[in-house]
C-alpha cells in the first residue's frame, strides 16, 4: 500500500505543484524518487510531529496541499491537538498519512501499534478518515484526498499487502465498494482486513452462507446507505478491522444501525480486544492471537447467522 501511495502521490505532485509531502524523518528507501523529482515539494521536518503538523497547517493556509507522513501513532496521536486545532478547525488542506496501521509493526510493541487512531481521528470535526483495503484502493484514495478540499486522514498498511480487487475499482470517498454480493450476511471490512474478509466470504459461500462483502474504505463520512441496505437485504452485519473494538469501524456502523435500521439485525464487531498487546510477534502471529484470522472470521460469521 505504501508503494501504491507514493507512486500515486508522485503523479499528483507532477500534475499539481501545490502538492507537498512532509515527513517526520521516516520513509527510508520510500521517498527517494519523489525527492529527486520534486525537491521543492518535499520536506523532512525532523522528529518533531507537533511542529510538522503546525507547519503543514501554515503551508495549507497559504495555498498548498500538504501530506504529513510518519508511522503508527506519530503523525496522529503525538500531535493530536495540532490536528484538531491547527488543521481541522481551520479546515486546512492537510492530509495526515500513517503507515503501519493496526499491528503492522508487530514485534516493535505497543508504542508502534496503531489501534485507536480510527476512533480518535473520526471524532474530530471536519476530518475525513480513509483506510484503503488494498493497493488499488490506496492509489485511488490518494488521488481522491488530493481532490478533496479539507483535512483527511489516510491510514495505510505497510508494504506488500495483496491486491483484493482484480483491477482498479470505482472509488468515491464516502461510498463503500461492494466487493461481492450475497443474501445471508454482510461482512464490512476496512483497511488491512479486506483480504482476510474476502477469503472468509469465499469460505462461507462454499459452506452455503451467501455473503456480501463491503470494503468500507471511508470510515468517515460512513456510507450509511450501504450499511442500512445491507441490514435490510442480508439481515446480519459483521464488521472487521485491525483496530480496537471501541469507536472504530464497528462503532461507526453500530451508530448507523442503532439509529437507522428498520429492524433489529444480528450484529458483531471483530477487532483487537484486550488493550495493550503483551505478546511478542509478527503482524500475522498477533492477528492470529487476537482472533483475526480467516477461520476466526468464518466461525464468528457462522455463529451470527446460524444461532446454536
Amino acid at each position: 500500500m505504501r508503494t501504491a501511495f507514493i507512486k500515486e502521490l508522485e503523479e499528483q505532485a507532477a500534475r499539481d505543484p501545490r502538492v507537498m509531502l512532509i515527513t517526520g524523518d521516516l520513509g527510508f528507501t520510500v521517498f527517494e524518487p519523489f525527492i529527486k523529482r520534486f525537491p521543492k515539494q518535499f520536506l523532512n521536518a525532523g522528529v518533531a510531529e507537533q511542529n510538522m503538523t503546525g507547519v503543514a497547517a501554515g503551508l495549507a493556509l497559504s495555498g498548498k496541499i500538504v501530506f504529513t507522513y510518519s508511522i503508527a501513532n506519530f503523525p496522529t496521536l503525538r500531535c493530536l491537538e495540532q490536528i484538531r486545532n491547527d488543521v481541522c478547525y481551520h479546515k486546512a488542506n492537510v492530509k495526515v498519512v500513517s503507515v503501519g496501521a493496526g499491528l503492522a509493526y508487530g514485534a516493535l510493541g505497543s508504542s508502534h501499534h496503531a489501534l485507536e487512531d480510527l476512533a480518535i481521528l473520526r471524532a474530530l470535526p471536519e476530518m475525513t478518515v480513509v483506510a484503503p483495503g488494498d493497493p488499488f484502493e490506496a492509489a485511488a484514495a490518494t488521488e481522491a484526498i488530493v481532490r478533496h478540499d479539507g483535512p483527511c486522514y489516510l491510514r495505510l498498511g505497510k508494504a506488500g499487502e495483496p491486491a483484493v480487487h482484480p483491477r482498479a475499482p470505482g472509488f468515491t470517498l464516502g461510498r463503500a465498494i461492494r466487493v461481492r454480493d450475497g443474501g445471508d450476511l454482510t461482512l464490512i471490512a476496512t483497511g488491512t482486513m479486506l483480504k482476510a474478509c474476502a477469503d472468509a466470504a469465499a469460505k462461507l459461500e462454499a459452506e452455503g452462507i451467501s455473503t456480501r462483502l463491503l470494503s468500507m474504505h471511508t470510515v468517515k463520512p460512513i456510507d450509511a446507505e450501504a450499511i442500512l441496505l445491507a441490514a435490510e437485504e442480508t439481515g446480519a452485519v459483521m464488521t472487521v478491522e485491525e483496530h480496537g473494538v471501541i469507536g472504530g469501524l464497528g462503532g461507526a456502523v453500530a451508530e448507523v444501525l442503532a439509529q437507522g435500521a428498520s429492524k433489529r439485525v444480528p450484529f458483531a464487531i471483530m477487532g483487537v480486544k484486550g488493550g495493550f498487546c503483551r505478546i511478542v510477534g509478527s503482524q500475522d502471529y498477533l492477528k492470529a492471537q487476537f482472533g483475526l484470522g480467516v477461520d476466526d472470521i468464518v466461525a464468528r460469521a457462522k455463529a451470527l447467522v446460524v444461532p446454536v
Binding site: G46, V55, H90
Partner: protein
Amino acid sequence: MTDTIEALKSLARHIRLTSVRMTHCAPSAHVGGSLSMADLLAALYGGILRVDPANPKWEERDRFILSKGHSCAALYAVLANKGFFPEAWLDTFYRDGGKLFGHATHTGIPGIEVSTGSLGHGLPIACGMALAAKLDGQKHRIYCMLSDGECDEGSVWEAALFAGHHGLDNLVVIVDYNKIQSLGHTKEVLDLDPFAKKWEDFRWATREIDGHDMALIDSTLRQVPFEAGRPTCVMAHTVKGKGVSFMEDKLLWHYRNASVDEYAAAVAELKS
C-alpha cells in the same frame, strides 16, 4: 517622527483602555497580558504591518499570529480601531450569542489569521506560512507574538529549531516577556533564562528591548530582519498589567477582572 511616536502611544493607550473595558464588562480574565503587549501591538498595527482592513485576505499582506491567544482583547481592540470590524463587536466579547470568543478566533472575524488559545500552536503555523512565502517568492513577513509562559511548550522549541535550520528570515517572533505566567513568576515556575540566548542558540537573530519604549519598539521592528538568512526574535521585556499601577507585576491580574471601582480607577489612570 515625534508625531508618529506620539500617535503610536495614543493607539497603545486606546488598546489599554479598550482591553480594560472589555475584560471588565465581559467579565473575563487575562487583562494583564493584554496590557503588557499593548505597546507592541500599537507599533505593529500603527505602521509596521502591511495589512489592509478593507481587504483582510489581501494575498501580499503581512501575517500576524497572536500565539498567546488568551490576550485577544488587546488584539480585537486594535483590529476594531483599524477598521477590520465594527467597534460595536467589542461589546459582545464573551457574551451569549456574541461575535468575539475569549481566545483569538478566526471564524467570522476579519484580521484574525488563525485561531489560538492552546499555547505553543502559533509558531509552527507561522513557520509554515513563512516557508510557503519563501517557496512562492513572496515578500510579505510573518509576525508571531508569544508569551513567556507559552515557551514552556516543547512545540515552541520544535518550531524554533525548524525556523533556524531553514533560515526563515521572513519570520519575526516577538516575545511578550512579562515574567508572570499562570501560577507564578516564570523564574519560579520554569525559569526560561538565559531566554534571549536560547533563541540566539537556535540561530535566531535576537535583540532584547524595553517593550514599553515606543520609539525603540518602532525603530527595532523597522530593522527586521536583523540578519539575512536568520529568523528574527525580539525579546520584549514588559510588565504584566502595564499602565494600571495596581495591576502591574501582579499575578492576580492574570485572572482577575476589575470591579466597578477598580475599573474607574484604571480608566482614570490610563487617561491621565
